[in-house]
């Protein structure tokens, strides 16, 4: 009964939008909206990453600033809270409070996840994108009832992006190997933050690995007659050799205990920016295809 009412309510909200769509269409042939495709190219210094197990000869290797060779067997991260910015500064949020419709897991082992289509972006010229690496605190509670699709996508056995004990999602999951003897490298990030800081009875202090990335396009993305593609490079060389931190892997910080210590914040700041002076981290726009 209740859900039915909500559904109907949503339908009514849509009506003016649909009406508006018809009105606009009658003016000219330019659609009121079109798709925008985000394409993620995960690289080591520009070379697209090939994953591989410890003994793999095909896997793409990289050498850190500290001289440690490394490669990955798993590479996943969550993108959410996406906003496109118009030339005049107006933000167009894309389902920012709906993880089923506005968030995705980029998984290097699944080609189909490297492209994420934003549907029905209003016709206009856009020159920036902002997105979250991870899930913002208010949605980071493994709410399967509200977002069953995202819950399922992140929870699949080969995805493992649920952080059960922290009742949140894993934001980044990287498994791999380092040094010539291929010691295990494992980096998981997430957030244990819960509740309200001013209310001690609810507040769980924690480290929040959520980062917002702001990228300026080298050329305008023109949405309308065409549906642009924005190619975003994520250069995982930054993981160990970032703008703020140079990390030397050892037996204390290279395995899952990395996410338990201060070193987690070093990795996170490297790939996602430090949240203040650096808002790009490892990300950059390769190009925009109109």
């Amino acid at each position: 009964m209740k859900t039915q009412t909500i559904k109907n309510f949503k339908k009514y909200l849509l009506l003016p939008a649909i009406a508006l769509a018809f009105v606009s269409c009658s003016d000219d042939d330019v659609p009121v909206a079109n798709n925008v495709t985000l394409e993620f190219n995960n690289t080591f210094q520009g070379e697209t990453i090939v994953l591989g197990d410890a003994a793999s000869t095909e896997a793409t290797t990289n050498t850190s600033a500290e001289g440690q060779i490394h490669h990955f067997s798993e590479l996943k991260y969550v993108i959410s809270n996406i906003r496109l910015i118009k030339e005049n500064g107006t933000e167009i949020p894309y389902n920012v409070n709906n993880l089923d419709k506005g968030a995705t897991v980029v998984d290097q082992s699944k080609a189909e996840t490297l492209k994420y289509v934003l549907n029905a972006i209003p016709t206009d010229d856009y020159n920036q994108i902002i997105f979250g690496l991870g899930v913002k605190t208010s949605l980071n509670d493994l709410d399967q009832v509200s977002f069953p699709e995202f819950y399922a996508a992140t929870g699949e056995n080969d995805t493992e992006m649920h952080w059960e004990w922290g009742t949140g999602y894993r934001f980044t999951k990287i498994e791999g190997f380092y040094d010539t003897d291929n010691k295990a490298l494992s980096f998981h990030s997430g957030s244990t933050l819960e509740g309200t800081k001013d209310d001690e009875s609810t507040y769980v202090p924690g480290f929040d690995a959520y980062r917002e990335i702001t990228l300026v396009f080298p050329a305008m993305a023109k949405v309308g007659e065409r549906s642009p593609k924005i190619v975003i490079e994520a250069d995982f060389d930054y993981l160990l050799s970032g703008k703020t931190n140079t990390i030397l892997l050892d037996d204390k910080n290279a395995t899952p205990s990395a996410h338990t210590s201060v070193s987690m914040s070093q990795y996170v700041d490297n790939i996602g920016g430090d949240g203040s002076s650096d808002s790009t981290g490892m990300f950059s726009i390769s190009h925009v295809e109109n």
């Binding site: 399967q144 059960e164 004990w165 922290g166 001690e200 338990t260």
Partner: protein, 339 residues
């Protein structure tokens, strides 16, 4: 937004009433009177925002014992939280479905209404947020809340109980979490021999128990304080380390190096019934714990200052250990553990 939806819902109800006869069922569900036992701290906030009710507690108790909360219907909350062990169990580390082994020792579920922070690393502050964790954790029940709701919906008894407990809202995730928390709020242990001595109810300590109480006040009470017998702080007391590289103690939650291998001070209530001891069951007996503390603990940068100041030891004579153990047995609440 929620209010708007609620208003619309009410509006829809009225509209419906015009056209057809609608019978509004009202549910009577009295709140339970919980009392703060003599000397105990105040209830935590959630006890007031999720007040235990007659049917809420009955539902929570039923869910607590229902194996359908696990993926293969083999274990319930009560499989690991066993009443005769103060709602803990005898395993070093928790055991989930298909005999999967967890990371830590099962914590006893007692006096939750007074705790301000839950679990060994304090990852939970609001008890209602806890039940989801074992339901979805791979090495515990490995299910999901929608899977559980699906199973419960097949049982008309549950539909009725949920409606009674939560005013006709049917089977919901929040109903599951809130009712289990409500049941746990009623698990109050405050009728041990110690309590009866304190309340002058005619019981007296034996000589050994009285001497043990003295030793306890000299050497233990700075951490095991209040009538909960824990100050709810997180401390590294140099116990043998869990080899699982997931383990980092409190720093798994806070990410702070200073919290590495710090754990919440355990309550000593019903401690004689919750062996083994330590975050992953390092010690089989209370004697073994006391021997270890007396002989010397592991060095660590963030070792508790009280231990640091005492050469990493809490020195205890054999007689003092006997006396302390005798005293700790007075914290057993036979009514609570059902024997």
């Amino acid at each position: 937004m929620k209010n708007l939806i609620r208003s619309l819902f009410i509006f829809a109800l009225f509209t419906a009433c015009n056209g057809e006869e609608t019978v509004l069922i009202s549910y009577e569900n009295p709140e339970l009177e919980l009392e703060v036992p003599f000397g105990f701290p105040e209830f935590n906030n959630s006890v007031y925002t999720n007040k235990p009710t007659k049917y809420g507690v009955a539902l929570g108790e039923k869910l607590f014992h229902d194996t359908r909360l696990s993926a293969d219907n083999t274990i319930s909350c009560a499989s690991c939280h066993i009443q005769e062990h103060a709602f803990a169990d005898r395993n070093g580390k928790g055991v989930g479905i298909e005999s999967r082994i967890g990371l830590r020792n099962t914590p006893p579920v007692q006096n939750m209404a007074f705790m301000k922070v839950f679990n060994w690393d304090g990852n939970i502050r609001v008890l209602e947020n806890q039940p989801l964790v074992p339901i979805i954790t791979h090495f515990e029940m490995d299910s999901s809340i929608l899977e559980v709701i699906g199973k419960l919906e097949e049982d008309p008894e549950y539909m009725e109980l949920f409606n009674k407990a939560f005013n006709g809202e049917g089977i919901t995730a929040d109903g599951i979490f809130n009712s289990i928390a409500q049941f746990e709020y009623t698990l109050i242990s405050a009728n041990s021999k110690y309590d009866k001595v304190k309340r002058n109810e005619g019981e007296t300590f034996t000589e050994a128990e009285a001497l043990g109480y003295q030793v306890f006040q000299d050497k233990c009470v700075s951490c095991h304080s209040t009538e909960l017998f824990t100050d709810l702080s997180f401390r590294n007391i140099g116990f043998p380390l869990n080899p699982d590289d997931e383990e980092a103690g409190r720093s798994r939650v806070t990410g702070l190096a200073e919290d590495f291998m710090r754990f919440r001070v355990p309550s000593l209530r019903n401690i004689a019934h919750t062996a083994p001891y330590g975050s992953f069951g390092q010690f089989e007996t209370l004697r073994a714990v006391l021997d270890y503390l007396s002989n010397g603990v592991l060095e660590a940068d963030n070792l508790d200052p009280i231990l640091k100041e005492n050469n990493n030891r809490i020195p205890l004579s054999e007689a003092e250990k006997d006396q302390l153990i005798a005293f700790m047995h007075t914290l057993s609440d036979s009514e609570f553990i059902g024997k």
